[in-house]
């Protein structure tokens, strides 16, 4: 069962072509790691899938297009590289996670469309769960229940990022799109984060697309890999990617350059 089909999709960012005729499919239960240097068009691709960006070509969710696609879009959880919000925004962690909740009707419509396709996806929360329970459980999954009444602006970068992941989980996503979600976060939090995404991928059959520069994490956690730099150069099983020396060299070099680049900025 294909969760996502991308067919010949091209899109521009600030007037330049950012992705060029990309085609690939994501199957149910995939944990797809997307690698590519900065400016490779990963974020543009995600924004096109999420309906935040104009594009040419076709994108289908569970085979659906048009108004059914729009009705399924709220079931896609998205954690961007960085969420920019007013620095003293008076919202607690609980408030921010609660923003991810979908109105009952929208959730029911989405669930009905997904179940209509006969896939194995499990809801994270029981059908009768109250909103407060969902928020509590989502915070538990990301390990932030002790911070629920703290203001989002008082949290560290890693804690904020985990809050946004909880906000993406609370809507009961069928597909989770994570755009370099742990950039600038310490190793301990990164490991916690990876175990969370593996758990929800395995237990709830939530399909995950995840952009990262961290090839070690991709080799540890992803099931499939895609490499892009405006064009899509590879899409397939993880093992195939890691046994292809040329690809590995190109993308580990770009990852290394990226690492050095970040490092020189930090210095």
């Amino acid at each position: 069962m294909n969760v996502l089909d991308v067919e010949n999709v091209s899109a521009s960012h600030n007037g330049t072509l950012a992705i060029n005729k990309i085609s690939f499919s994501v199957k149910e239960g995939d944990l797809l790691g997307i690698v590519g240097p900065n400016g490779a068009g990963k974020t543009t691709l995600f924004r096109a899938i999420l309906g935040l960006q104009n594009y040419q070509g076709k994108i289908r969710l569970f085979g659906y297009e048009g108004s059914q696609y729009a009705a399924l879009l709220p079931m896609v959880g998205y954690v961007p590289q960085k969420v920019s919000f007013e620095s003293n925004f008076p919202a607690t962690v609980f408030d921010v996670v609660g923003m991810g909740l979908l109105p009952k009707k929208k959730l029911q419509r989405g669930v009905a469309l997904i179940q209509g396709c006969g896939c194995n996806w499990n809801r994270i929360f029981g059908e009768s769960s109250k909103n407060t329970e969902k928020i509590g459980k989502a915070l538990e999954i990301v390990g932030l229940e002790h911070l629920r009444d703290r203001r989002i602006s008082e949290l560290s970068g890693g804690e904020q990022q985990r809050t946004f992941i909880a906000s993406a989980l609370v809507k009961e996503p069928v597909l989770l799109i994570l755009d370099e979600p742990v950039t600038g976060v310490d190793m301990e939090v990164q490991n916690k984060f990876y175990s969370v995404i593996r758990k929800i991928n395995k237990e709830n059959k939530i399909t995950i697309i995840w952009a990262s520069h961290d090839l070690t994490a991709i080799s540890d956690y992803a099931t499939k890999v895609a490499c892009m730099n405006r064009d899509l150069f590879f899409h397939g099983e993880k093992e195939e990617f890691f046994s292809n020396k040329d690809l590995l060299k190109t993308y580990s070099e770009s990852a290394m350059q990226m690492h050095m680049h970040n490092h020189s900025h930090e210095v």
Partner: protein, 279 residues
């Protein structure tokens, strides 16, 4: 009794109208401040000034022309801003000056400044008649009800517009609805503090409430309480002291802000000390 003047009809009407406007301003204001639209209220009120002058010029009840001009200008500017990517502060400057410019031309073309026009500039809450009071109450109830109904999508859209869009919040429609509500709020608040002081009622109670470190709902409730308290106190005190109510309300809000700032500086709102955090 010292407070005998509260039995006067005009005083009661002033208090009712003032409270209604104070609640609307505090609620709308929180979203405006958080969207970095603090001066939007000022821009809308200057547009309303142009609208009032137009009303006098055409001999139409000025509140209607003011509403029409500020709502349509606000919508227009929002649309232009979206399509041309003009920054928010520049859009506000355009509205502010074009509204005032239109007003000045129309005033000079008609009979010059009249007392009525003056009362729109500086507020005239004590002159509110029964029918104005009733219509202000009805409009305020409409604004408050709309804000309560749409509180969740409005919060989401204020915090992160793109995520709200992915979640299926009709962001553009919501934005237009919100701008229209803000414009109507400005019109009913004009009577209370006048065109020139509206920003104070939109911004001050909210930035004061935001300093107290609470969540969204509590911040809004604190802001409403501060706004209503300052308005009531300002109107009540202005009569025996023979002061302008608008100025009194605004200065009480300023005092609340400065007081809260001082208390915060002394560390009374901090939730936990570093020692507690470690424990």
């Amino acid at each position: 009794m010292v407070l005998d003047f509260l039995a006067y009809g005009f005083m009661q009407r002033a208090l009712v109208t003032g409270t209604a406007a104070a609640v609307c301003c505090a609620m709308i204001g929180l979203y405006l401040v958080l969207k970095r639209y603090s001066l939007f209220g000022d821009a809308l009120s200057h547009m309303a000034f142009g609208g009032i002058a137009l009303g006098y010029f055409l001999n139409i009840y000025p509140i209607w022309t003011a509403t029409a001009v500020s709502v349509s200008a606000a919508m227009g500017i929002t649309k232009i801003r979206k399509s041309t990517k003009i920054s928010g502060d520049a859009a506000v400057a355009v509205m502010l000056s074009s509204g005032l410019g239109m007003g000045v031309i129309l005033v000079s073309a008609s009979h010059g400044f009249t007392i009525d026009l003056f009362s729109f500039l500086f507020g005239s809450v004590l002159l509110t008649n029964v029918s104005d009071t009733l219509s202000f109450i009805a409009i305020s109830c409409g604004i408050i009800a709309t804000l309560v109904i749409f509180r969740k999508p409005l919060l989401h859209f204020t915090f992160d517009e793109e995520q709200a869009k992915v979640n299926g919040v009709p962001v553009e429609k919501l934005n237009y609805l919100f701008i229209a509500l803000a414009a109507v709020t400005v019109i009913i608040t004009m009577r209370l503090v006048g065109i020139l002081l509206i920003s104070a009622l939109i911004v001050l109670p909210n930035i004061t409430a935001m300093m107290m470190g609470k969540g969204f709902k509590k911040t809004m409730l604190i802001s409403i309480s501060l706004s209503v308290a300052a308005t009531t106190l300002g109107i009540v005190l202005s009569y025996p002291l023979n002061l302008a109510p608008s100025g009194s309300i605004v200065m009480i809000l300023v005092a609340m802000y400065v007081g809260t700032l001082l208390v915060k500086q002394m560390g009374l709102f901090s939730r936990k000390t570093i020692v507690q955090e470690i424990q």
